[in-house]
């Protein structure tokens, strides 16, 4: 290919002592050098390092000098720690609550915006709007709306401080995040809806199928790759819930551990109890849960030829 430049009047391609392929390889390595160094140092190496730390007594000053043998001590502590059990339960309850809600709301909003209505851009922007705000700011606004004298209680005639009542706190966070993230879910569904070819609907229209039936028989099944994508991405996101729980509880995970999520538990073990060994072990348990659930989803509903 390089010989093509050797015609008269055209500048000759650079020649070097190295062959073309070697030069290309060297540039390739140069281009990926910094990204690969960062990924290796701060993502892949820490994966192994976390496993290592989880086998030792490890405080804020580093590895306990008296602890020479690797053991599963930290994992056995977790196994018997009722607070950790609560944290896992809260995290799973939150995920089981928020993901279906986000999907239902996101899909409904996508159908509205995708329908033949005026002002599509306005509605799309309005629905997406809460997604752009920072978690801290939006949580603060939600705390105000849901406080004992807030707007919600005024409307329903109650005085429940939703975020600081043990029985409702995690569900209030479910509501908050369904509100803020369903706009993002909508965008994914919208892209998927627009990729469905129109002729399938034309066939349904000829058959005089009702809109309701058309949706359940045609649209919903055709959206399967999008359902899967949203379930996996937002499911993983939900299992990592931290910011909102931290802000509503002032970092304590209270009342009575009601907002202690798995990541908040890890944070508190590390930076309130200064037990890095336990925190690292808890991180590995959570990663294992995320990995298992994702694999199960992949094996059950993800295996279509579209994916």
């Amino acid at each position: 290919m390089a010989a093509a430049g050797d015609t008269i009047g055209v500048r000759t391609p650079r020649r070097s002592l190295l062959g073309g392929r070697t030069r290309e390889s060297l540039w390739g390595y140069a281009f990926v050098l910094v990204p690969m160094a960062v990924f290796g140092l701060f993502f892949i190496y820490p994966f192994g390092y976390a496993v290592y730390i989880s086998f030792y007594k490890w405080g804020i000053l580093g590895k306990d000098p008296t602890d020479h043998t690797a053991s599963l001590h930290n994992y056995s502590v977790l196994l018997h720690d009722p607070i950790f059990h609560t944290a896992i339960k809260n995290t799973l309850e939150y995920t089981a609550g928020v993901v279906p809600l986000e999907m239902a709301l996101g899909l409904s909003m996508a159908l509205i915006v995708n329908a033949a209505i005026r002002g599509k851009a306005f509605f799309r922007a309005a629905f997406y709007f809460p997604s752009i705000a920072s978690s801290v700011a939006i949580t603060t606004i939600a705390i105000y709306l849901l406080n004992s004298d807030g707007l919600l209680n005024h409307l329903i005639g109650s005085h429940t401080p939703w975020f600081s009542t043990a029985s409702s706190a995690i569900w209030a966070i479910v509501g908050l995040n369904a509100w803020t993230t369903s706009g993002t879910v909508m965008l994914f569904y919208l892209a998927a809806l627009q990729s469905i070819p129109t002729d399938v609907y034309e066939a349904a229209a000829i058959d005089n199928t009702s809109a309701w039936r058309t949706f359940w028989k045609i649209t919903f099944p055709l959206l399967r790759p999008a359902h899967f994508f949203v379930l996996v991405i937002f499911g993983i996101g939900a299992l990592k819930i931290f910011d909102q729980a931290y802000i509503v509880s002032g970092g304590s995970g209270g009342p009575n551990y009601a907002t202690t999520t798995a990541v908040l538990y890890i944070y508190r073990e590390a930076f309130a109890s200064f037990d890095f060994g336990i925190a690292a072990a808890a991180g590995i348990v959570l990663a294992a849960i995320i990995f298992t659930l994702t694999t199960v989803q992949w094996a059950t509903i993800g295996r279509t030829r579209n994916l």
Binding site: I44, F129, A133, S134, L286
Partner: protein, 288 residues
Amino acid sequence: MSAHATTEPYVPRVETSVIAGRVFKYVLLLAVAALFFVPFIWSITTSFKSIPDSVNVNLIPHPWTTSAWHDIWANYDFKTYIKNSLFLAVTITVLNIVLAGLGGYAFARLRFPGRNVLFALVLLTLMVPDQLRLIPVFVMLTNWHLIATFKGYILISMITATNLFFMRQYFLTIPKDYEEAAKLDGAGYFKTFWRVMLPLALPAIAALTILQFQGTWNDFFWPLIIFGQGSPKLYTVQLGLALLRFNYSTLWPQILAGSLIAITPIFIIFVFFQRYFISGLTTAGVKG
């Protein structure tokens, strides 16, 4: 659909019930849409209320006052927080553009031994959750004296696997003719990338810029870990707001004013560049 009605001499009559149905539909839609922005409007007006008035649910303050804004501006160093957040968001975004561009281009176009293995590592990186690397990264940064420094945060955020993957996918869609033309002109690999390919990837860069800027500006987790134990001089807007919220507890006008400070810059960017938010998210997700 009915845009050409003005040029037509005859406008077909529409049944009254159809009009009523349509009005109902839009009223309902507006009500749903209102759920999404009324809380923000409520927060704006409440930030201009006096403390005793702030527990009332009236939308319009009585009387209007800017005392909450004065209070937080005087007692919290929001000027510094904004400066810190801007500095970090701009630096991290620029680094991500350059590094994701370079890496994405190499993985999309350049052939070098081990490329597939390295790319598999990039995909692996996508799967390492933050809470797993939290402890080791904190320990490493502490050992290298990079905890409570901007350098530490920039170092771990200067390139993300998501961004690199996104740029690679975009470069794959650009026809090879452009590079071949550049090569015929005698341009080297770096020059081809910098002068030809990067400008062609401008739509992807726009989406990446907005999402990364928003991501860094809104980030709470890592700044909390890296700057949380240090001096408030290093706080970002989100950390400052969290501090404000914990100290002021139920002083609603103050904490809502703080929230609005945290939201406004992203809101302005959203209003002007809305389509990049949307295209960036969906292409990164669906094609990725």
